[in-house]
């Protein structure tokens, strides 16, 4: 039994932590997100040089061959710095799906370009009506010779504005909520028939709504494999985003604790009030419990437990994430008083990122129900 990082993983974690400390303080980060692209290309090239963009890819694809633990180590530190560069969208989501798709020369070349930082990717799975249901797909794929044409809408696609290539889920056959008949397709971001409306989210990310009208596309999996691939991606991303959330929760708790030690009212530090001490013990416990359930999910993946067992752990993780995010975020604002309400302070920015992670790939309630279905059925 050992919950330590390996030496290599610790080095990776430290290198991200160092980057955040030296080059990504709150002020620097705010400059980065104010960019038109929502992130810094210079930083992206640095990530490539440091090898971070290669982490989840197999060694024979030029990757680092990292697993869930490596991703967790990186994401936790990125969370602490509120790093806005599209590591999750481009490397984990887009890159992850490419890696899971059938081998081809073109695929390997795309992965190489993700790794060297020259290519940005995005994955378009949500639709205006789909809410958190991956299988709710109306976007239609029509065969045309040996390619396809896609028509439909995709909502709030992360990194779609900067992406060169986008993977899109679309329906080859069946009805709106059928599990069968969904495939994944690769399209060019500047393809004819594709239009984008760029929007900002509360955590300063740039997303885009996509309208597709007969967009030429290339299938990257069979007609009945799309949903399973999306589900696999969701599982990996929940674990990665949970690690980011853990970093944020730790940061918020530390910031709040520090504030309570220094802020004085009634002639004493507000941290001397027992009412607040108990609340901070509660948020401390919530973060530790959350770390434990994250480790549990990571271990189940690293040890190749059964698919059901992994799914139960991941659903539990995301369910707890929703509760802990609201609890810890809410207390951080409350204990800062009026200061906690200001946009100038970093606290609100961390809270909004937590809320955004809560909504990503299904909120706490959604996964609590998935957990119930999985756990009570067995």
């Amino acid at each position: 039994m050992n919950f330590d990082f390996s030496e290599e993983q610790q080095m990776l974690k430290d290198s991200v932590a160092r980057f955040v400390q030296d080059e990504y303080d709150f002020e620097a980060r705010n400059k980065v997100v104010a960019n038109e692209a929502g992130f810094s290309d210079e930083n992206w090239q640095k990530f490539a040089e440091l090898g971070w963009l290669s982490i989840p890819f197999a060694e024979d694809l030029g990757g680092f061959g990292g697993g869930a633990t490596d991703t967790m180590a990186v994401m936790e530190e990125m969370g602490k710095g509120l790093v806005a560069e599209p590591f999750a969208a481009s490397v984990l989501m887009f890159g992850g799906l490419l890696q899971a798709s059938a081998q081809s020369e073109e695929r390997d070349a795309l992965i190489a370009a993700v790794i060297d930082g020259s290519l940005q990717g995005a994955v378009a799975y949500a639709e205006p009506q789909s809410r958190y249901e991956l299988k709710d797909v109306k976007c239609a794929a029509k065969v045309e010779g040996d390619t396809y044409r896609l028509s439909g809408e995709k909502s709030l696609v992360l990194n779609a504005v900067s992406a060169n290539k986008i993977i899109v889920s679309a329906r080859v056959s069946g009805d709106q909520n059928d599990e069968q008949g969904i495939a994944l397709f690769l399209i060019d971001a500047d393809a004819e028939g594709l239009s984008k409306t760029a929007l900002r989210t509360m955590d300063a990310q740039l997303v885009a709504n996509l309208k597709l009208e007969n967009v030429p596309a290339q299938a990257i999996c069979g007609a009945d494999e799309g949903l399973a691939m999306l589900q696999q991606m969701r599982q990996q991303l929940i674990v990665a985003l949970a690690a980011e959330a853990l970093g944020i929760m730790e940061k918020l708790n530390a910031t709040t604790l520090e504030y309570c030690k220094t802020r004085k009212q009634f002639g004493v530090a507000i941290g001397s009030f027992q009412a607040l001490q108990h609340r901070m013990v509660d948020t401390f416990m919530a973060a530790e419990q959350f770390k434990s359930i994250l480790y549990r999910a990571v271990c189940s993946i690293e040890q190749n437990e059964s698919a059901d067992s992994i799914e139960i752990n991941v659903a539990a993780l995301k369910a707890m994430l929703g509760k802990a995010a609201k609890h810890i975020g809410g207390e951080a604002v409350q204990l800062h008083g009026g200061m906690g309400m200001t946009d100038e302070l970093d606290v609100g920015h961390y809270v909004r990122r937590l809320l955004s992670i809560n909504a990503a790939f299904g909120d706490g309630d959604y996964h609590q129900q998935r957990f119930a279905n999985l756990s009570l059925a067995s």
């Binding site: 949500a126 205006p128 009506q129 809410r131 958190y132 249901e133 299988k135 709710d136 809408e153 909502s155 709030l156 709106q176 909520n177 409306t197 929007l199 900002r200 989210t201 509360m202 955590d203 997303v207 709504n209 004085k264 009212q265 009634f266 002639g267 507000i270 009030f273 009412a275 607040l276 609201k326 809410g330 604002v333 409350q334 008083g337 009026g338 906690g340 309400m341 200001t342 946009d343 100038e344 609100g348 809270v351 909004r352 809320l355 955004s356 909504a359 990503a360 909120d363 309630d365 959604y366 609590q368 129900q369």
Partner: protein, 392 residues
Amino acid sequence: MDINFSEAELAFRDEVRAFLKDAWNEELASQAKQPGSYKDVQVAWERKLNSKGWAAPLWPVEHGGAGWTPTQSYIFENERAAVGAPDVSPFGLKMVGPVIYSFGNDAQKERFLPRILNADDWWCQGYSEPGAGSDLASLKTKAERDGDHYVINGAKIWTTLAQHANWMFCLVRTSSEGKPQQGISFILIDMTSPGITVRPIVTIDGEHHLNEVIFEEVRVPVENLIGEENKGWTYAKSLLAHERTAIAGVADSKRNLAEVKKLAAAEVNGGRAMIEDPIFRQRICDIEIDLMALEFTELRVLASMSKGNGPGVESSLLKLKGTEIQQSIQELKLDLAGYFGTVVQDGASNEQVGHDFGDVARRGFMMSRAATIYGGSDEVQKNITAKFVLGL
């Protein structure tokens, strides 16, 4: 035990409904949805109330009040909220107005009260300072007597909508002797006076509601002092009590919860409406049951007051429970919006976003966090309840 309305009360309800139909009309309701319309809508709405004699129904009749019973006030609040009309802006009508008619002199009453009733002035509240929040009595903004004027130096913070205000009611330090509470005065400041700087503070919803107000050698005529010098704390405390009951917001919460139910019936996940979702249903019901009880807690307070008794111990939970419920309803709405609750709409149309309440839900949720901070934070309310209600 009787909660039926009398004939007269039913007739009053009809009168309120008729008034609202006309006063909170389509035009005003749709104007209220436009960004940046807040002040214009409030002023137009409050003037309609005033022309009916209902701008400040709970003020004494001699100062322009309507002489309503608590039951009438309850009826009005429910009808108003049900049609989505806003509450009045509190600073003039609910805060400084009562202080002026209770502690001001005749000249002040004549000068300010009619203008407050008709929303001719926009008031802001200058209490909190960077170093004086929960511990308000430690405030440092200084007013020094110089002939017929006070000269004011210092800084206020978190001043809501000071950017719109032409008047501020302000707590200032006029003496440093004795207990901190004893050297505080209550003074009215013309916001156009030279030496005042208003700086915006952007909040976590991305909007500008709050401000910092800096005073540098600001000269305020002595005639703007309310009551006696160094008695301001007593006046302010009577006002805080006012603020704390108005803050429960039961009628608005009823309306907001009803709206959430409607939205939940239309929002679909995997072929099932969210109103059928077991967890979401339970969350709605938990809140609704709490709100049903709070409504009766408020009625108990009203009943006790209408018998001429004090508000009773149960009044202490109005703000605590009321704000908890307000926040839970905003949370429901944000969660209901799903991914779209993350979007900052910023001028984009609903059509472009692909959703029609995500942005409102996000802003509402973010600002609702402040409800347990202002007007006496949750923690301070509980301290007060522990001490004065439970005797701890």
